[in-house]
Subunit: 184 residues, 2 copies
């Protein structure tokens, strides 16, 4: 059965956090201990005096266009796209310059998705889909499908939603849910 799957970009497809940590470590010559970062966004974890610097990284031209990939995203999303309806749904209207960069990044790494299935928005409760895979639990507020939390350091302490640690886990979850609904 064909499902509509909405997928967030930052920290789900694109490794935004790694890019920020790399940049920060490099600029301030500070080593970030990722095991100590659970429950924190990088900008709130670092010295308060550095917070604005990190937020500024995201405002710089090229930041979103050059993000590295989350492991497994390309392989799994290509499979999902073959059997289901995949929409990319990313909060981007707050940083208007990021939108064109995000489209370029998607066209480069996920060329089969296409502009029809891209959504740049703010409040994701405007979207209707069977699943929303996202690292921010607040995006599940008012969402009418099932929210699947993609593991990230900042959401490590969130317990209200199904959590996946890697893309292969979503394939398993979807297959088991589909075979379940066929038996029912």
């Amino acid at each position: 059965m064909k499902k509509r799957i909405a997928i967030d970009m930052d920290e789900v497809m694109a490794d935004t956090l790694e890019a920020l940590i790399d940049r920060y470590q490099n600029d301030f010559n500070i080593e970030i201990d990722r095991t100590d970062m659970e429950g924190w966004h990088l900008e709130d974890y670092v010295d308060p005096e550095h917070k604005q610097e990190i937020l500024n990284y995201m405002k710089q031209k090229g930041f979103f266009e050059n993000l590295p990939l989350i492991e497994g995203a390309q392989e799994t999303i290509e499979k999902l796209h073959r059997d289901h309806e995949v929409f990319i749904v990313t909060a981007a209207t707050q940083l208007p310059h990021s939108m064109e960069e995000k489209v370029k990044w998607l066209n480069k790494h996920f060329p089969y998705i296409g502009w029809r299935n891209m959504v740049m928005c703010g409040d994701k409760s405007i979207v209707i889909a069977d699943y929303l895979i996202d690292d921010h639990a607040h995006n599940f507020d008012g969402f009418r499908g099932e929210g699947i939390l993609f593991h990230s350091l900042h959401n490590a302490k969130e317990t209200r939603y199904k959590r996946i640690h890697a893309w292969t886990e979503f394939e398993e979850l979807l297959n088991s849910s589909l075979s379940h609904s066929m038996q029912a």
Copy 2:
């Protein structure tokens, strides 16, 4: 009762067609007879040799940032925003450079809307709302709320949907539908 109202931008809030006609008439020294244009998009109505020129206007920097307003849009949408939940939903991912310009245009003319309630997308069936006000009937395919067709020359022959010719008509339609549902 608070409704969620999704509103398209081009030819609904922004007078994209007037901007294109102005530019075309000026560049080619040709007078467009609007009464003859019913059922046509400008790019298909003109000499086929000029079609690409018109499509190129939309690719030029500044085009979407400087569009004139559709009459009554500011007044009515501000009222709607006070009593309901207004989302701007515009097909923009096909022209990635347009997205930042569209946000700037919205911030200038509709500053109370805010980034949370802006959606730049392709296929609008991803959106859930009570109403979608749009000049393109194809955007109502798969839309789960009520599609309200905003009159435009190109859609003049479309008969499947409720049509409004001006923003004040939507206020009337909504008020009558709300008082109807309160009586029921």
